[in-house]
């Protein structure tokens, strides 16, 4: 049982890592705490749910979800230019408003019920020798890991990736060294939106889908980003897996109702231990 829980936590953790990777990329260049982040992931999740409900293939939800997220990201970036000082606090409130809008939109379009997709191709079980797992969990893990590794390689070993990281770490210095900061910000936003678009349909296979499901994902993404620091694509996966395993163990031994409390406690503690927050070590604030 314990090994099975570890595996479940691991597979959940890779999904969390994927989710926080998108958050961390966009946060890195915009410095906006997007409180509507989880609700944006739900866009893809509801698309996938709607597709399967209407007999369309699940895989087709991915391109649609990515396209929708790119449009949403483009709109948000342009509205973001209108936000006035104090910029960070106002963007926090503006995205909270967006989160409430989306929650209610989902509620009126799809109702308040809990949904979980049971795809015939992803149910059943695989024998791993010591325990059984469902192909769905396996597929989520493989997809998430692949996306994270591709992003990590892109950010670490390509010239463009290096420029994006420079922009995240110190905008002014990057600008002085001849990095096209605006283009890199645009690219990071684009990449982040694409990752969120991929994560959306995966969400329905690992989690119950309901209009208020987004806030938990937002909190997890913020928590993992604070835990590992901004723009560190490699460390994100460790943070995600640690949280995933923690969640699967506490859900089994303590019960699911403690999860919200534990996330809250972890976030407050992280903020107190690292009061400089996400920018730790980058010499800002």
């Amino acid at each position: 049982m314990f090994l099975r829980l570890l595996f479940l936590g691991f597979s959940l953790g890779t999904f969390y890592a994927l989710v926080s990777l998108g958050f961390s990329l966009v946060f890195g260049v915009t410095r906006i705490f997007n409180l509507a982040y989880g609700e944006l992931i739900l866009i893809g999740a509801y698309v996938a749910y709607w597709f399967v409900r209407n007999g369309l293939p699940f895989v087709a939800a991915f391109p649609v979800s990515i396209a929708l997220l790119l449009v949403a990201g483009w709109i948000m970036t342009h509205l973001g230019f209108r936000i006035r000082q104090p910029y960070v606090l106002n963007s926090l409130l503006g995205t909270l408003g967006l989160a409430i809008i989306l929650q209610n939109l989902y509620g009126s379009l799809f109702g308040g019920d809990y949904h979980l997709l049971n795809l015939p191709s992803l149910s059943g079980r695989i024998d791993l020798g010591l325990f059984f797992v469902s192909p769905g969990k396996f597929a989520v893990m493989v997809t998430s890991l692949t996306l994270i590794i591709v992003t990590h390689v892109f950010m670490t070993y390509t010239d463009t990736g290096l420029r994006i990281r420079a922009t995240v770490q110190n905008r002014e210095a990057a600008l002085l060294s001849g990095v096209d900061v605006r283009r890199m910000s645009f690219l990071a936003n684009f990449l982040g939106a694409a990752l969120v678009g991929m994560a959306g349909p995966l969400f329905v296979t690992v989690h119950y889908l309901y209009p208020l499901a987004g806030i938990e994902i937002t909190l997890l993404a913020i928590l993992i980003t604070i835990l590992v620091g901004v723009g560190r694509t490699g460390a994100v996966i460790i943070g995600g897996i640690v949280l995933g395993i923690m969640e699967s163990l506490t859900a089994y031994y303590l019960g699911g109702e403690w999860q919200e409390f534990l996330i809250a406690l972890a976030l407050i503690l992280m903020l107190i231990i690292r009061p400089t927050g996400l920018l730790h070590g980058h010499g800002e604030e």
């Binding site: 509205l79 409130l93 408003g97 209610n104 909190l219 913020i222 409390f261 976030l267 009061p275």
Partner: protein, 325 residues
Amino acid sequence: MKLPGPGYRLWLVLLFLAFLPIATGQDEYRVSVLSGAILLGLLGQAWSLMARCGLISLGHAAFFGIGAYGAAVSRTSGFPLIPSLAFGGALALIFSMTFVGLAGRLKGAYFALATLVLAAVPKAVVMNWRSVTGGSEGLFGLPSLGAITILGMEMDPARNRLIEYYMIFFAVFLLASVIWWLVHRSRFGMASSALRIDETAARSLGISPTRYKATAIMASALFTGIGGGLYAFQVRYMEPNYLFSLHFSAIPLVVAIFGGMSTTWGPLIGALILHTLDEFVFRRFFMTSHEILYGLTLTAAILLFPRGIFKAIMKMVGEERIAYR
């Protein structure tokens, strides 16, 4: 009493509000909507007390829910009305003190993020302390406010006349407003504004950020807790999943920002407009998703008029000074 300059119109508005329920023919539904708006105005004012120091709270549901449970539990165990309300407020105050002790030094967005998860803490307590709080099912059939005597007039909501509720809500609101108004004109108000605008400069003038911020958080928690108690006696049932939800964290800040968070009267004006709009229009046409109003208002206010609709209107009329009272 000398009327305060051009602001006397606002006192007239308040006088108008005090008699409005009588003018509307004491229609129960309309009076209850008005009571709700007054309560929301109180919550918005309490929220903006913190915002005035530059502290954005995304977790006022914590104080609200603690106040509601504190008042409900003490009332059911036989306490009179006003001590019950005070008890709820005091519990919220104590909770805010522990929060200040832990996270009072956080700044800006990091403070806001810490408040975002704040409501999960009392919620976990309420959910697991079943013998007192009723656990996740909540508490039902709370006693109503009960008969009390104000200025020799006996108020008895048990006679099913909501006007008395309204009077009690209005009395608490008026008390809070007068306190806020005095605070705003005092050294405290000046110091909090200074802290919001430039903390370093304020410190160099000898203003202690820790002290002023702690006071603002505690006062805000106290009044939000009392508001929670009033709410508990109005709806007469408690459900932890709803009381500690994002909804009650969001509405105070939405009305405050919409109305204008750095003014005394802005939150009230915001609450009156939004709550009546919600009850009379949105709840009718968008039954399951009427809260979309608050999201739309918040995002629109941040993008279009971050200083609040009150200031925007006053500027249009050419009397911007009133907005600062």
